[in-house]
């Protein structure tokens, strides 16, 4: 007599939500997966560098004011740094949240609504942040 169960324990594959068939024939998910890793490596430099400059370097957060930002954005180097950081962090975070919404929503309606909200907020934020960098007016003071 065998001591082993004739029925092997069933382990659901992760990320296979019930009742949602796979219908994609494209490689979008692969590219999204790859983007998370490539953008992640770049963001290590951009975001950790940003945090070090803003919070630790000479005086940290205490020295930040409008004139400080004006001084930084007078240099194209920091403009490009901030612009790249804005776009990469926003797209990386949005794609991360898309995954999380896919994981936890059960109803199609909820999922579509949450993603609509997410993409709207992301578009507005990227547009606003980009506009602010390009139209910064140092004579405002």
């Amino acid at each position: 007599m065998s001591m082993h169960s004739p029925i092997p324990p069933v382990i659901e594959a992760p990320r296979s939500a019930p009742g949602r068939p796979r219908r994609s024939r494209t490689n979008t998910e692969l590219y999204a997966w790859l983007f998370m890793r490539i953008s992640g490596v770049i963001l290590v430099v951009l975001v950790l560098g940003h945090l070090f400059i803003m919070n630790i370097l000479d005086g940290g957060v205490q020295r930040i004011n409008w004139a400080f930002v004006a001084g930084r954005w007078a240099s194209p180097f920091w403009q490009v740094w901030d612009l790249l950081m804005l776009w990469l962090a926003m797209i990386h975070g949005t794609n991360g949240l898309r995954t999380i919404i896919n994981d936890y929503t059960r109803k199609d309606g909820t999922r579509v609504a949450l993603k609509g909200l997410l993409y709207t907020a992301t578009t507005i934020t990227i547009a606003l942040g980009t506009l602010v960098i390009f139209t910064f007016d140092p004579t405002l003071n």
Binding site: M3, H4, P9, R37, V41, L51, N55, V132, N141
Partner: protein
């Protein structure tokens, strides 16, 4: 689940399942450190993302007027908010280090085998960076509270 197996006929009673076969072996993300690092990665990612929305909004005030920007940035200098900034930096640092660990697991041939050692490595790096980091970030608030400034 467990029934009185010995009394029942062997054919109809499900035989006891060996305990270890119930747990999937070799999965990185079920139970133990692999799962908790995934939970922490998810939470820190969401937290950073929500901060970023607010942060782009507060930065946009540089376009409105120097006064409005300086007023909002002054809240960043409050000791209580300062503590939250240390929390944010800690969250971003964990997410960044663990993100690199995930990338190493995915692309480095030895990655999956060394994932646990890599987790303890990044936790160590996190502590080594955060202790002096938190000290310098909170220095001014400390002096403010205890009156040496």
């Amino acid at each position: 689940m467990s029934t009185d197996a010995p009394a029942a006929p062997a054919q109809t009673t499900p035989p006891p399942v060996a305990k270890k076969s119930r747990k999937p072996a070799g999965t990185l993300y079920r139970g133990r450190e692999g799962m908790w690092s995934w939970v922490a990665h998810r939470i820190t990612g969401v937290l950073t993302f929500f901060f970023l929305f607010a942060h782009v909004l507060d930065t946009a005030l540089v376009r409105v007027s120097p006064e409005s920007y300086d007023k909002v940035i002054d809240t960043y200098k409050n000791p209580f908010v300062n503590l939250m900034e240390i929390g944010l930096v800690g969250a971003v640092l964990f997410h960044a280090l663990n993100g690199l660990r995930i990338i190493a697991i995915d692309f480095w041939s030895k990655g999956p085998r060394l994932q646990r050692q890599m987790l303890w490595t990044i936790v160590t790096v996190w502590v080594v960076v955060m202790v002096p980091g938190a000290f310098f970030m909170f220095k001014h608030s400390f002096e403010l509270i205890f009156g040496s400034k």
